[in-house]
Subunit: 582 residues, 2 copies
């Protein structure tokens, strides 16, 4: 077996063409086994086996520096740079992260998990090299799907003015997570169809040199192409055409579903866990499909992640022109939604907490200054969300909730979520964001009659005394449990409040609490800094009310267990009861 | 005079070709007079006189909808849409804002002040029209300088897939605020040189139709071009070549200086006020020019606003390859800086508070997760900064300071600012941002010996008792005055603290204050929500320390007087003394 002997890229360089091909097959076998047990990004890695081998065969990493966009396709790179054990032996599977990671290896230059960043980051390495008089090659690898992101396009534009070595490998598998959207994909198609010879060439129009590789899964062709650009003294795009999921038959056939996959049976491709239960993605799709049919002004927008709003290819077909995928382009998505609302439509944008970070200025300027009635659902915004350092859902409260004119709502149950969608979609006064609860979906079947248009009116879930617990969104359940723990300890039932509104304070209710409460505890499912609880602490700052803000510490967590993190931040019912008693 | 009779676009349509030309001259005369007295965006408006006339001659605003990018070129549009008085009569000059404004006119669809947004916003209007079955024309106007911004490029890509009417007027004056940077400008140059006939065409490569107007200051040619695309059923770019500042000789000659101008003598072009005094822009340039000469790793980055770091064309020439203008591309700027720092360089990025909003995700992901030693100065971050609703400098504390791993510093004096630059540029541990003080530059000549590497250590400026005032950055002066007012009132001198660090709490010092203080007052030059003071309120929440957080209310202010706003937020020394006594 060749893979077992690969301890660094120099071991790759020692292999013959035939041996490299055998290595590729071994890498695919290792990927199949690990991913079937462990889950992970299937499509991107199966497609990049040959290109990664060729890169390491031609270039001299880490002196030559390769930066992988999103880096969810970096498994093969890890195998060839001293980390093969994490793909060969089950007990070592978790030795590596799912993304490039400088703490793991000198061959990784950045921790990357968001798309569209590689050209800019690698451009910085190139500029630093130029200042220092270095001569090494700098290579940015980017998928076609990532090209639609503003940062990538800004990076391409910048690269077009560079006058030194800079190699951009465009890995074109004709797919984003879902199908691509945008005018540039017509050009990529034309280039594929003309073997790169078309006069109309986006990359050349941006000032870059250009080279085309018809079969991006052919190691020999790739080696030849990379050798031809190695040590070039001007920026060049190497456009390689690969097949997403190549070598894993299920992933070749259903590319969208197999972009990322949970553990699966390697023989049949059936998933080992059943995800068919109700969740907020499916609830959202169901809600909007019904709404769309009744109202042609309703429109669902996604920025390259249709699954976040539960829209499978079949449901997208049903929605027709009332479903818009702008490609990976969060900035455009928010501005487009604002424009649509101004034009009288009822746009809804579903987005992950981690990715709404990519459109702060559009939220502030394009949307909130203009007060257009856009509805945004923020998914995986929770300690129970994605746990990779690049995909955390614990920062959106400070990011979003301090923008004026925005109403940021936090439901606890499915019924509250739907009632909020109902109100938000029909009102014409405010931009509204809804923080979709993390953890298991809670459905209590209760009708929600609250008028969300009366802003910043909190509700008392349980009336008591002594201690009041203001438990935001998904932590309402924790608040109720903590109240029980406090009552068990003291004999006095605390008051529990569901604040619903992250963006404002119910001053009347907070004033009213003073009569029968000495302590207010706030609970929020995100970092404390800049968050919800601090606003309550400010409100009571000059009074004798004791306030305790509980939430997460401001830090970049990575691959954590939620229960550990909750405990470390004193967020178990028992810990809260202890604190209340102090 | 024609202009006096223009009350709506229909009055424009009634004029002959010769009359339209006379109107253009009258508009230039009005611009010259108003701008010489009032100041404003010269270059963009003088260049767009003819194009604006032609747009309103051909299209039927407001049914047809025109969206101006940045909208600093919308003065001519305002003159032709019922707002001529604001340009003809001095007493009405302030009746209109400097940007498009829906509150002023049904011909304005959005409040816009940041670049690169028009295609996406107008794209939303077009999509809403399509859902509703409308037939009106939707027109986005965008300058060449704004095209490099990620949102604009995302918008172009989206437009390339549209299948209905959408007209993008690219106003190409071969200038951003300063000269353009990026590969796409090579293509615009080629298109200008070939009268739009070059095979290599960025817009066509993005899937758009294309039309070229060689003289974008020729009303007849523009009318013909706009008529040819009116009611088109697919997206089209109309590339018009205009002269920035056309008709104002000084502005034609020195385009960068006259992009925006203070009041000036219309005969000589000399400015009525002298701006030659020391300011933070010049201090920054002076500091880095010296630093660069001694160290080739030091590099200053700007995203299209070189003046923010004090770099005039002459100083940029001196800096050579150690000065990088990435064009209007804030996302790329931050990622590039992170890459450069990783590559061993010492990058500095100077940016306005209002524009750093455009790169939140890059700060978080590309920079802070990776902990690369980039130094960022945030300018005009103050109630004393720019006062247009789209350019406020009061939101950066919640935006920036809640990102983990970032050190956000707040100096009060020039000496502190330079000491922070010194430390930040040489250390290799942290991404560092510095909040450049607003208001008049304070220089006390004192040597600063503080070691900023010992994070979150506050300093006591004045030791007292009873009340402690923690006065952040530019509000340190206010804190000292408030302390004097309190002492005058109570006979007891308060303690005054300069916290320096926005991103962390000096727990030891705060604990220590408990012994001799009953009240802590925080002062910050920005909104309170998600800001600095709330962190102090949280810290003391469960103690008997009374905390009073003073700063600005969370709201979008517009064209305000800072003194009024300070008073409204209880931020005068006397008001603070009153609050302390309560």
């Amino acid at each position: 077996m060749y893979l077992k002997k690969i301890n660094s890229p120099s071991d790759v360089k020692a292999l013959t063409s035939a041996e490299l091909k055998a290595l590729a097959e071994e890498m695919r076998a290792a990927l199949t086994k690990k991913l079937s047990i462990h889950g992970g990004h299937c499509g991107p890695n199966f497609g990049m086996v040959e290109a990664t081998i060729a890169l390491h065969y031609v270039f001299n990493s880490p002196e030559d520096k390769i930066v992988f966009d999103v880096s969810h396709q970096s498994y093969c790179h890890k195998m060839l740079t001293g980390r093969k054990d994490a793909f060969l032996y089950e007990e070592h599977y978790d030795d590596v992260t799912g993304y490039s990671c400088p703490q793991e290896s000198e061959h990784d230059f950045f921790t990357i998990g968001h798309t569209s960043t590689s050209i800019s980051l690698a451009g910085g390495l190139a500029k630093a090299r130029d200042l220092k008089g270095g001569k090494e090659n700098i290579i940015a690898v980017i998928g076609d799907g990532s090209l639609s992101g503003g940062e990538a396009l800004e990076g391409l534009d910048f690269a077009g003015e560079m006058t030194s070595n800079f190699i951009i490998v465009v890995n074109d598998n004709d797919m984003s997570i879902a199908e691509n959207h945008g005018g540039i994909y017509k050009n990529l198609k034309l280039l594929r169809e003309t073997n790169g010879a078309a006069e109309s060439n986006l990359f050349k129009a941006m000032g870059l040199n250009y080279t085309f590789v018809k079969d991006g899964n052919d190691i020999d062709a790739l080696i030849k192409a990379f050798q031809s650009v190695k040590d070039s003294s001007s920026p060049v795009v190497v456009h390689i055409v690969t097949e997403k999921g190549k070598g894993l038959s299920f992933a070749e056939k259903n590319k969208e579903q197999w972009h990322w996959s949970a553990p699966f049976d390697p023989e049949t491709g059936s998933f080992k866990f059943n995800f068919d239960g109700e969740n907020y993605n499916s609830v959202t799709a169901e809600y909007f499909l019904k709404k769309m049919k009744a109202d042609k002004d309703v429109c669902v927008i996604t920025s390259g992640t249709p699954a976040v709003s539960g829209f499978s290819p079949e449901l997208r077909k049903q929605a027709g022109s009332q479903f818009i995928d702008v490609g990976i382009a969060e900035e455009h998505a928010v501005a487009l939604a604002s424009g649509m609302a101004k034009g009288g439509a009822k746009p809804f944008y579903g987005v992950y907490s981690s990715f709404i970070q990519r459109t702060f200025d559009q939220l502030s300027q394009d949307l909130c200054i203009n007060e257009n009635p856009v509805v945004i659902s923020v998914f995986e915004a929770s300690v129970y969300g994605m746990s990779d350092v690049t995909h955390l859902g614990i920062f959106d409260i400070p990011m979003i909730s301090n923008i004026p004119n925005l109403v940021y709502l936090a439901p606890y149950t499915k019924e509250e979520y739907i009632a909020m969608l109902d109100w938000a979609t029909e009102q014409r006064e405010h931009p509204v964001a809804i923080r979709v609860p993390g953890g298991s979906l809670v459905s209590d079947g209760k009708a929600v009659t609250k008028d969300f248009g009366k802003l910043n009116k909190y509700e008392i879930t349980q009336k008591g005394g002594g201690v009041a617990i203001i438990a935001l969104g998904s932590f309402q359940g924790l608040g109720i449990k903590a109240a029980a723990a406090i009552e068990a300890k003291t004999g006095v039932a605390p008051t529990v409040i569901n604040p619903y509104y992250i963006t404002g304070i119910d001053e009347e209710m907070l004033e009213g609490l003073k009569a029968e409460h000495g302590t207010v505890i706030t609970l929020e499912d995100g970092i404390l800094d800049g968050g919800f609880g601090e606003k309550i602490a400010r409100f009571y700052g000059s009074t004798s009310m004791k306030t305790i803000n509980l939430g997460l510490k401001k830090e970049f967590l990575d691959r954590y267990n939620p229960d550990d993190i909750l405990k470390a931040n004193k967020l178990t019912p028992e810990q809260i009861a202890e604190l209340a008693a102090e």
